[in-house]
Symmetry: C2
Subunit: 245 residues, 2 copies
Amino acid sequence: MQINRTPWHFDHIFPLPVSVQGADDQKWQEVLLQYVRPVSKGATLTLEGAPWDAMICVVDGWLSLSKSLDTGHVQIIDFAMQGDIVGPASADGVTSAVTVEALTDGTAAIIPPAVWHCLQTQLPGLASLVQATEAAIRARRAERALRLGKGSAEMRVAHALLEFGVRLNAPFGQVYHIPMTQQTLGDFLGLSSVHICRTTRRLARSGILEVTDHMDIRVLQPAELAKIAGTDPEALRREILPMQT
Amino acid sequence: MQINRTPWHFDHIFPLPVSVQGADDQKWQEVLLQYVRPVSKGATLTLEGAPWDAMICVVDGWLSLSKSLDTGHVQIIDFAMQGDIVGPASADGVTSAVTVEALTDGTAAIIPPAVWHCLQTQLPGLASLVQATEAAIRARRAERALRLGKGSAEMRVAHALLEFGVRLNAPFGQVYHIPMTQQTLGDFLGLSSVHICRTTRRLARSGILEVTDHMDIRVLQPAELAKIAGTDPEALRREILPMQT
DNA sequence: CGTCTCATTGATCCGCCTCAATAGCTGTGG
DNA sequence: CCACAGCTATTGAGGCGGATCAATGAGACG
């Protein structure tokens, strides 16, 4: 289901939680408001290989970016959430490299390339934001690629749960929800849903975390989990959370 | 070995093969010349976690970007070659997310963040180049992540060899060289060197390609190889080769 | 000629996939 | 209210792909 492109009216979202430093912010917020629209759970924004040239700025909710093989196997490349600015277009600039789907109801601004190009040159503050966001995206994708290639199932799961916690800004010990099934998490980590189940159960049984009610996560032993994930939560935060300069 | 940062003198490289469209090109070439320097095979430009904030523009030769686990396992995130512009910095902007090493002798420009920021705003042509390059990088990394997560060893090897051929612009049937050992290719594909060996031998025995003299590749049956890789060479070219608009 | 690195091949093992069955939960209609 | 369907989670059994360990070639180089 391709979402339509008519402007949407939002009176109730002020200000949008994706902001730019300095004087450029007002203009940026205006543009965002102009292109922002609701996205409903399960909706497909674009398909791998389909025509697409716009930028997507996530205001609220979760999106998944995925690719698939003709065997039917799906690999989720990344999740995008509040504040992420993603360009699904591939090198030719007019084709989507990934399928973008909504994991939850949410809102996103879809900004045409002409407007985007214009903004980039006119708003230096936006350029900084974009660079910071892109560095964060690269860093977290690299971190995952490392574990996808060389890590055990346990390490992948531990790292993913820590990453979600960091990105959601959830304090340790607090419950946070990730809006996906074990199947989806498996598609993200290159594992079968069955093995996701076994792995999370094992972590739960050893008292490191609790998983309740369809993916409500509570980390009980952050240090243990971090050790399994092969990372340090503080370092991870610095590495993958965009920081505007 | 950290390379030094004193300017280097090049009289013999004109023009640099990393060019920008339009009137900005001259300025860009000047800046490149100012920061370009030779890199020798085996040299380490930066280490994962070390201080780093510069951009790297590859003029000639191959670089590898890698991360490693404390088990000693290494995952190569990407190779950078002629024309690639890579930012190894993570989200904090001052730490390298990856280790950057030279696989061959070559030349690269290392551009300080202040200069880079300045260039971005002053040279719109450069901004376009960067966006195109980044889209290409994202697309090829996504393509690999898919196979890293869901593909067989055979598919990963086939895809990597096709990707190298495309990036090197090697016509089908022609020999091209990839400057790495089977171990390095394994670190790239998430496979052991032993399994790289078995897989390439199997492909060679079935007449799909030839591998001679330490990674001189010759694809004999491009269609077969593409089928195994789960891709179409033309589509791959469009998707992962940067095209300036 | 000895050493070093890299490629190749065999043997064995194990982590994860696949298939399959059951259980729990939610919503729907009679 | 229960019966049922549909989806997700859980657990077991068996198989396979790729890792690991180990030994032998094969060049390259001093």
